[in-house]
Each structure stands twice: as C-alpha cells, then as structure tokens.
Symmetry: C2
C-alpha cells in the first residue's frame, strides 16, 4: 500500500503520541515549577517526574525556558472572585483570591519563573496572556471609577500590593494591608478633582 | 621560631589574601548578576570573570546562592532622591530614582535573584537589609501623612508600581503612571476620614 502523506495511520498515531507526551511533560514541568521553583526546572528533573527520557525532552523542548513556558501554559485560567456588586468588597475579594492563588497554587513561583526569563520573546507572549487573564477583572472593577493613567496605576498598585511582597520577600500581605490599599485607591477615585 | 596562633605573618597574609579574593569574587558575581541575570551566576562563570579557579570559589562559596548573596552585599547603598520639601515632587522623584536604578544598575535582576532564593535564611537577611535601605526614605515621606496599615500599604503600592512591572513584564512605568500612583496615595492620605 502506498503511504498517503499526512494521512497514514502511523502519522496520526505519532501525532497522538506527541500530543500525549506534551500534556504529560507540561503537567510534570508545572508540578516542578510550583512545587520546587523555577530553579528546579531542568530536563533531568522534569523527565524524571514525567517518566520520559531526557533525550525525548531535549528533542521537543531544547532549552530550559521551553519547559518553563509549557509549564505556564498548563496553568489554566486564573482564579477570580465572584462579584457581588459591592465594589469595595469585590476589589478586596479579588485581591484575596489572588493571595490564595499565591499560597495554594504557588503563583509566586510562576511569576518568578516569568520574571527570570522576561527577555525571551516567547515568554513575553505567555506572560502577557497570564497577565491579561489575571488583571482583566480588576480593570473592569476600577474602570467604573477611573480611567487612563490613574486606572493603569491603580491596577498596578493593587496587583503589586499582593504580588510584590511575595516576589520580593516571600510573604503575602495581611487582610488589613489589602483593605488599606483598596481604601487608598477607592478614596482617591471618589474624591473630587 | 614558635608560631604564635593568630599572630603569624603568614596568617595576616592569608587573611588579606582571603579578603582580596572575597572582594574580587563579589565584584565579579555582581557584574554577572546585573549584566547577565541571576540565571548566569555559576561557579564557572564567576570564576572566569574574577580570574580565580573554580576550586577556590567552591571552597569559600559552596552553593550558587552564596555567590548571589555576596553579589548583593557588594551592591552598596541604594540611591535616593534628594528631598526638596515639596512632598509630591519628592515622592515622584524617589520613584524616578528607583526606576533609574532598575534601568542603570539593573536592580530588577537583583530583585529577581533575591526572589528566586527567597526561602534561604541567609538571603532573607540580605534582602531585608536591601529592602530597609531601599524603602526607608519612602516610609519617612509618607509617614508625614499616614501611619499603620495605610502607611505599609502606601509604601508597598508605590514601590510596587515601579518594581512589579519590571519583575513581571520586564518594563518600567512611564512618568504619567508614576505621577498618577503618587496622586492616588496623596489624595487619599489628605482626604478627610
């Protein structure tokens, strides 16, 4: 039988195998990233967790940054607070969900991995996706009161009040710091210009 | 001649040699950290730049984190804005000096290095020193208007508006974002409770 290019049973078998390998390796890479940190992401370690050979990993993902990228792609959607209509409660709630994500999903390690490889073009795309997905609800909420540079600054400051201590000091803010930060932004947004 | 412990010429000669090695290696490690990023800090790379053998480096600084710590210790004092007495201008000025430090001294790479090894006890001490040194002027300025959780939140938010984009996205904020962030904090601080 003459093989038909792109349509051979062995081809689709191989495609399925490659797809399965990708899912397994991405899951293992994410497990290493969130469980042990970006420093621990090596071909040897991810291969060990995924149950594949190092050679297989090097073939598909030649650089360490490739493994970090597929790990982050495997993260899925960012968690968000379910809005109630009370703006202050909703902004505070959103920041607490983000804080919980740092503690439970170790999003700080994901952020650190992204930061470390910030100059890689491919990482930029993944990062922008995670970022957009992570911040869109905060933009929508604060966008009810402010716009322009104030809106960008407000979102950056509130994201930062949770992300920065976790990145810089390995800690997360207490409730009273989160609430004080939200009050600073909302008080300013509601004050007459 | 009977050697006198701790007082032999060879001893002080060795002490001086060790001290010189430490200075040379710390400077080389800082050069690699800010020039190439924390990922590039390896015994081989730092030894190459410093002009010492890898064996010497492993003897004094067995782990990579040890090299990152002496690099950060070699940073010196954080730069600060010279205060004029105009609070808004001074807070904006302080954030612009911080932004300049990120661009010129690549403080973002220093922050990333600290973040990556946040769980190491020794790193915690170095980080707390850099942090205290970096934030004390902002604490003093905002402390004229606010206190308690609002002060902690305000400092964290304003530091974050510069540090976070650099850590998370490899960018720094424009002047209008910095000014909007400062106005948010000052407007809120000056509004009646």
């Amino acid at each position: 039988m003459t093989p038909v290019p792109g349509n051979r049973p062995s081809d689709s078998g191989e495609d399925a195998r490659v797809a399965r390998t990708r899912v397994d390796v991405a899951r293992a890479a994410l497990e290493v990233l969130t469980g042990e940190g970006s420093e621990a992401i090596t071909h040897a370690r991810v291969a060990e967790i995924a149950g594949y050979s190092k050679t297989t990993l090097y073939t598909h993902w030649p650089a360490r940054v490739d493994l970090i990228i597929i790990a982050i792609e495997a993260l899925g959607q960012m968690p968000h607070h379910e809005r109630t209509g009370d703006l202050r409660a909703d902004v505070v709630g959103e920041l607490k969900v983000f804080r919980k994500g740092i503690l439970d999903m170790r999003l700080d390690r994901v952020l650190t991995g992204m930061a470390q490889w910030a100059s890689e073009e491919q990482m930029r795309q993944v990062r922008d996706k995670v970022n957009t997905d992570g911040q869109h609800q905060m933009y929508a909420m604060l966008g009810e009161l402010i716009s322009g540079a104030a809106l960008d600054a407000g979102v950056s400051m509130l994201t930062g009040v949770v992300a920065c201590p976790s990145l810089m000091f390995g800690t997360v803010p207490d409730d009273d710091i989160i609430e004080a930060a939200v009050d600073i932004v909302l008080t300013s947004a509601r004050s007459p210009r």
